[in-house]
């Protein structure tokens, strides 16, 4: 099994799912239906191919098949919130797990100003208010943050690493995936960013959340923490942050108090996402042998300022 053989195999899976009645192995060459095979994503943590109305995703090699099955099953019972899979059970492909999804049109990366902040916030609030299905594992946000920090450490010495590692060390154990999360009842997405929203039916159907790889139970503040971190770092303009926060509150989202200062509830998760973003930025810039740009530096600077200020302690949360 090689990466070279994975992509044609995944493409064949997408084609077969798009044409179930005429499924014949056609891994190479144009499909007779006229639809193109589009590589939507190709990263260490997953490869995604589209053929017509079908999207096939091969999940990361270290994906726990049992946990993935639970997460995909959860997506089948959250209509109007999460995009449901075409098949509730993941399949095997060259030793990896593959899932099939209907195509939805994403946020245009070239026009992030048109980002659907209100819709994203409303979807999160509805997700967080939905009782978690039985057997759903913990959301993987802290695990992803810990992996980013491990990647930073593996990248070798870097002048910007010390403040990031210092901010990381000051976080409570649960945020570093070293202790159980204090909230094990709330259904969370686990990896919210603008690439996790699509309109289905494309191109102008309602917005839905996608990507169940990190879905699970945990502290719902994690799902608000990326926009919160961007705002805190001076990257996301205040009006966009307030649109997101206000829509979340208006929809009854439980991660923050209904009014007043949201930061005691957001602080730990926003710090963790800031550290995660900074760690990945440093690791990637070191690998490419280029300096941090001003946006990346702003995130590192925020980590530096955290060192002097211990994390806030939300009500009732153990550290």
């Amino acid at each position: 099994m090689t990466v070279d053989s994975l992509l044609p195999a995944l493409t064949a899976v997408a084609r077969d799912a798009a044409h179930p009645a005429t499924a014949v192995p056609r891994p190479r060459g144009a499909c007779s239906c006229g639809a193109e095979d589009t590589l939507l994503a190709d990263r260490d943590d997953g490869t995604v191919v589209r053929h017509g109305d079908v999207v096939a995703k091969v999940h990361a090699p270290d994906t726990d098949p049992h946990e993935l099955a639970r997460r995909v099953l959860a997506a089948t019972c959250l209509p109007g919130i999460l995009l449901p899979p075409l098949d509730p059970a993941p399949a095997g492909l060259l030793g990896r797990r593959v899932t099939l999804w209907p195509y939805g049109s994403p946020v245009d990366p070239d026009t992030p100003d048109a980002a659907p902040w209100e819709e994203a916030a409303t979807l999160l609030a509805r997700l967080h208010r939905t009782p978690a299905p039985d057997g759903l594992p913990p959301m993987r946000g802290p695990v992803k943050a810990a992996r980013a920090v491990a990647r930073l450490r593996a990248a070798g010495p870097h002048p910007a690493a010390a403040p990031v590692l210092g901010a990381w060390a000051a976080l409570p154990g649960w945020a570093r995936a070293e202790a159980p999360m204090p909230d094990t009842a709330t259904l969370c997405h686990g990896d919210l960013h603008l690439g996790q929203l699509v309109r289905r039916p494309a191109p102008d159907g309602p917005w839905l959340l996608i990507d169940v790889d990190d879905l699970g139970v945990g502290d719902p503040a994690w799902d608000l923490a990326r926009p919160a971190a961007w705002y805190a770092c001076g990257l996301l303009p205040p009006d966009e942050w307030l649109r997101f926060l206000t829509a979340y509150r208006d929809a009854g989202g439980p991660a923050v108090p209904a009014d007043g200062d949201p930061w005691p509830a957001l602080d730990v998760a926003a710090r963790a996402l800031t550290v995660q973003t900074a760690a990945l930025a440093i690791a990637k810039s070191a690998a490419a042998r280029r300096p941090l740009d001003e946006v990346q530096q702003a995130v590192v600077d925020a980590c530096d300022r955290m060192s002097a200020l211990p994390p806030e302690l939300p009500r009732g949360f153990a550290t």
Partner: protein
């Protein structure tokens, strides 16, 4: 300082410009002389915002930010990296918006 109730260490936070001490053990809060009044004053300003000065329209009130936030949160239009109003958003931040 130590918490007078449970003797765990207390940490200092800045809440809307008012320094407060919170216990890391029992979560109790210690206020110095005048700080409760200062918090009450800030709260009343928050719930009854002053009308914006003419000629300087502001669509949204200023939002609370953490103490470790970027320094430009304090002022108006102070050099946001992301760009205000959708203009000139930094390319690197545009990428960050879509990345895990």
């Amino acid at each position: 300082m130590q918490c007078p109730k449970c003797h765990a260490p207390m940490h200092t936070y800045n809440r809307n410009g008012v320094q407060i001490e919170q216990c890391s053990g029992c979560r109790g809060i210690f206020l110095d002389y005048g700080e409760l009044e200062a918090l009450t004053r800030v709260e009343s300003q928050w719930s009854q915002p002053a009308p914006p000065p003419p000629g300087a329209p502001q669509a949204y009130p200023s939002a609370p930010a953490p103490a470790w936030g970027a320094p430009q949160h304090g002022g108006h239009g102070g050099g946001h990296y992301g760009g205000h109003g959708g203009h000139h958003r930094h390319k690197s931040f545009g990428h960050m918006l879509f990345s895990s």
